[in-house]
Symmetry: C2
């Protein structure tokens, strides 16, 4: 592993799931200097021996000082973070300066919150990168990835699911929806995809009227106009497992607009469970002709 | 109770909930001839001794014949009905003639299905009335109905909830949403309001960040452009109970656009549980100035 003078040292703000680990591994592989920023309450269990900065939401001044001392001028936000319960008595001077902007933003949707946090990092002179800027192969490829193929009814469900998820995204509600036989079984809200799929598993079956008909599709796509550097929707093998438990036929994601955390493992899990995984171009899904796409 | 020659005899297609009973009582009170149409699988338990026509989805010819024989030329659909599991071997000749229109419609949202069913009744020469045409006092009045009043944060949640529910309605997904502290906790889909509120009860609490902040609002309004004669959203005391279990501060409905099944009992339940109930003019909620409404 050699040095990589063309790659800026990277701070990875580590949230839930596999993404921060994948990015850390990519840095190791390419010889890129990196550090994991672990916020109190969001420390994953796989960081032993890796370079970390421990941070607290209430004390951004200390975090930015540590980042600058380490020469980190690029940052990526990796993995979801639930909004923290803030402890006002711990606020440092920088938090107090940011509070008039940050606190109202946190009362809007995720998108507004993340735009505000991005702007805060930029105002500290840092460059904010998307996970796919660090590891381009994370973006969902186009086309059917699995042994299981799609019926015409599946494509019709995808068209409707994309329309619904896009409307929900435009209102900063969520990035996904589940449709089966033309009927919407769930719209993703703040609880996220796993909780939505659990809801479908518990409540959806009575609404698939044709017992031999389409089983339904999980559709995931970015919010229209969202900042692609933060909070791109993501799926992985666990998403496939949850979709199978919800009785779905497969998963459709916007090609190039959704992170697949471990494409090979995700496709393998889908093949094992008999689900399809398809990357759909944003121009395909919303058109009526999508029903005819092979 | 005298005769009421100015009121047409009325067929009440009875679905779930209290609405068909309220309409039957209104007919009794006003001396209007009526009959309850009970579809197999949807027979309520309070119809003993009342005039009924027993019907099967697969046999519309028999039902229309019975309606005509009884002199019923007006019909109202009262209470939700889940899409039935059809038994094709039982289809009569009329069902088979309707099938090419009806079956594809049932694979779209509720709204398309109900428009199709309405058109079928009209093509049989029947007039389709809304529940509020039979009993005008069912429509939600404007303004705060309860002892509990609304905070500015509640009004902000209502504005956002109305925007989200309207978008969901436009796509024929559902007629409601739950918002707390600006965050969408649920969008109603085919499972309906009670299931949505149970979902919020189970999953919502972690997402109310300010433990002393707004508890959230259930917002209900008709789908934009829906046929107001069928499937107007409705609430009642049970809705208030479910909203309380979901930890919400109150319920906001479109004034004049939502049926309140027992206003007095609904308000009494809200007062008992400390929730607000407010009817919001559709011009109030979507504007930014709604935040200032007292």
């Amino acid at each position: 592993m050699g040095s990589a003078p063309d790659l800026q040292p990277l701070a990875i703000v580590a949230g839930d799931g596999d993404l921060p680990k994948l990015l850390a591994e990519e840095c190791q592989r390419s010889g890129r200097d990196y550090v994991l920023v672990l916020f109190a309450g969001f420390a994953p269990d796989w960081t032993g021996g890796l370079p970390v900065i421990n941070a607290e939401f209430e004390k951004p001044a200390r975090m930015f000082k540590a980042l600058k001392a380490g020469g980190f001028r690029a940052v990526t936000f990796a993995g979801a973070m639930q909004r923290p319960q803030l402890r006002p008595l711990k606020f440092d001077w920088k938090f107090l300066r940011l509070a008039p902007t940050l606190l109202p933003a946190m009362k809007s949707g995720d998108d507004v919150t993340l735009r505000t946090i991005t702007a805060i990092f930029e105002s500290e002179g840092m460059e904010v990168l998307g996970a796919h800027d660090v590891l381009a192969t994370l973006l969902a490829p186009s086309g059917v990835q699995t042994v299981a193929k799609l019926s015409k009814a599946d494509w019709a469900d995808i068209k409707r699911g994309f329309d619904i998820a896009e409307a929900a995204g435009r209102l900063d509600v969520g990035q996904g929806a589940v449709v089966a036989q033309g009927i919407c079984l769930a719209v993703e809200s703040i609880q996220g995809t796993d909780t939505m799929l659990r809801f479908v598993a518990e409540t959806g079956d009575a609404f698939r009227l044709d017992k031999n008909g389409a089983r339904g599709v999980l559709c995931k796509l970015p919010k229209p106009g969202q900042d692609w550097r933060t909070d791109l929707p993501s799926i992985g093998p666990a998403t496939i497992r949850a979709a199978a438990k919800a009785g779905l036929a497969g998963v459709a994601v916007q090609a190039g607009g959704v992170l697949v955390l471990g494409l090979e493992q995700t496709v393998a899990k889908a093949d094992e469970l008999g689900l399809f995984l398809v990357g759909v171009g944003r121009d395909e899904a919303p058109n009526d002709s999508a029903g005819e796409t092979p």
